[in-house]
Symmetry: C2
Subunit: 351 residues, 2 copies
């Protein structure tokens, strides 16, 4: 029998946030790639584009003109997936297999900056702090609405991630019910807290801080790391060092430190393949159901699709859709590659 | 208050196989699309390509030449994600957060035909019956191996689905443990069977047969439908009318009928946007752990990414990755669009 080597041998790792396993195949990183090549994003956008519906002063699909905003700007999504209308519970009852329920919600767009050609890694920390404050404001005000029990803040960056406009922006979907994956996390966090009287991520962070090898960047208030159970090749998570249950609990110092780590992590991403690094990112935090949630621990996930270069992504298909998530490169190796990147953006290094 | 209309209003539907909800936003199908356009696959492949590592007679990465095969041909994947080596359990114990286990398995490639330019919808039923018999043989022989407790048969079709070679082929990953999603399905099927002494899919099929509106195509032995809880725009499932737990239980008649419905469903897919319709597809069936599995009910999932045309796909990003799967078009409308398609392939209609 051969001795197990996690840098060489296929193995499974457990994700305690989703209560699931993922398959790691380190040796497979060597396989040649003859499949689809992704287009790399153009790098010559103007700072104002008169055809962009997010630029200041331009007119949106509903005929309304954007104000001449200076920092961030929030509006209701013109093509919202959720509707701000209370619908009567349907008369047709759910049967055993046709089980459904109407869903109520509000979808918003958050422009991060008036400048069409910026992205988070290219913004100043002072500007990013204003984005953080906008998220705080939205979480607080949307969460205060009686029917809204959960607020999902996220960003899709890059056309490869389904983003249809390169103007720096994110989205917020706020809704009545807890979405499936969030409900799963809630169950896991709650079970852990009941048992240990500490948050799951508090204890996880202690183990990761001792291990060191998956830490990418950190400051006094936040830690960015590649989770032990990461599924995407360069997946990371920013965790607050202190167990806060939601973004409104951040002190001024923490808001600044969060903006800083956001900037540093995304600069490292851009530097890795010298490209505007695509990802979906989003915050997991306590429901806004009016209850206390000491079990929740603020964190932000980054799910970037790129695998080997600016043009070769990881496909989560076939086996992954039917059976289990799978990765080639180990999380430890990914963390090392990201850690080694400079926190000065490659475009600024060139000047 | 407004009366609920499932063709207009956002709602959630429950997936009893995965024990999760998905968000349906029917009205959102109207939103304009300005994002990424997919390349449509070229339609002029030769029936033999001397650079293809799957064509008969050609030499593969490991230096071995493929035989001059006539129907299907199976070999061990040269870049396998799982390894056919028993690894000693590691000495380092799993901690509470660094939980892992070595995984053992065998990865195979199944060429469906020696002809480089065919795809399942373009193959004859007699040829597809041989593919079905190959799957039966592989499930039986791999499943008979002591260490193999689960056999995942699947196909990634199209470069948009991470397929790196257009030669018609699928894969088989056979392994020691039950993969995460399969384990979830197993739990659900088992709970249902314990309670009702019938399989979950048997009862589901009865409800769908009565409802009619999500059925795409059927014959005496199989039914293809858009599941009530489908997440991908044109997701379908082929279910055996009789509750068989795995593919080896198929009679000769059922093998033929399965080949027929495979062909008809995929022809409808190709006809929908007059393109070689990409998808990941795969069979869910009983584990090969040597136990009886009356709770399992053979079915095959099709997860195709296209949404509006041959070049616009659905992106499962942002909200979907962090919170919950989401779809725009209703499953009923998708089923209708597929049902309306001819079962004669568009290329043959042109002649
Ligand atoms: O094995 P292939 O075809 O090279 O690879 C493809 O299918 C695998 C199984 O679904 C995935 O893990 C890969 O991401 C995908 O590119
Ligand atoms: O709202 P957008 O940016 O048009 O759309 C994008 O993000 C949404 C939320 O993650 C997804 O549902 C869409 O598939 C994606 O294209």
């Amino acid at each position: 029998m051969i001795l197990f080597d996690p840098t060489e041998h296929p193995h499974k790792r457990f994700n305690p946030l989703q209560d699931e396993w993922i398959l790691v195949s380190p040796h497979r990183a060597k396989r040649p790639w003859q499949g689809q090549q992704e287009k790399t994003p153009a790098d010559n956008r103007p700072d104002y584009d008169d055809t962009c519906y997010l630029c200041p002063g331009n007119i949106r699909a509903n005929g309304i003109a954007n104000p001449d905003y200076e920092d961030s700007y929030v509006f209701d999504n013109d093509f919202a997936a959720l509707k701000n209308e209370i619908i009567a519970q349907p008369e047709v009852a759910s049967t055993s297999f046709f089980k459904f329920q109407p869903e109520y919600g509000i979808c918003r767009v958050v422009c991060f900056s008036p400048k069409h050609n910026l992205t988070i890694p290219e913004m100043e920390v002072s500007q990013l702090t204003k984005v953080v404050q906008t998220w705080i404001h939205e979480y607080r005000t949307l969460g205060a609405i009686e029917e809204i029990n959960y607020v999902q803040i996220f960003e899709n960056k890059g056309s490869i991630m389904g983003c249809s406009n390169p103007h720096p922006h994110g989205q917020i979907w706020a809704q009545h019910t807890l979405p499936t994956k969030v409900a799963k996390v809630a169950t896991q966090l709650n079970a852990y807290f009941q048992k240990h009287q500490r948050t799951l991520l508090e204890d996880y962070l202690t183990e990761e801080t001792n291990a060191e090898e998956r830490i990418v960047v950190r400051n006094d208030f936040f830690t960015a790391l590649v989770p032990y159970w990461a599924t995407w090749p360069f997946e990371t998570m920013i965790i607050s060092n202190r167990a806060i249950s939601n973004i409104t609990e951040m002190t001024k110092e923490e808001q600044l430190a969060f903006a800083e780590i956001l900037q540093q992590l995304t600069i490292k991403y851009d530097n890795l393949f010298e490209t505007s690094f695509p990802y979906s990112a989003g915050i997991h935090q306590a429901p806004t159901d009016g209850k206390e949630h000491p079990e929740w621990h603020f964190h932000m996930h980054f799910y970037p699709p790129l695998l080997r270069s600016a043009s070769v992504k990881k496909f989560m298909v076939g086996y992954e859709m039917l059976a289990e998530s799978q990765r080639d490169i180990t999380p430890e190796r990914s963390a090392q590659l990201l850690r080694e990147q400079s926190t000065i953006h490659y475009k600024k290094q060139r000047i």
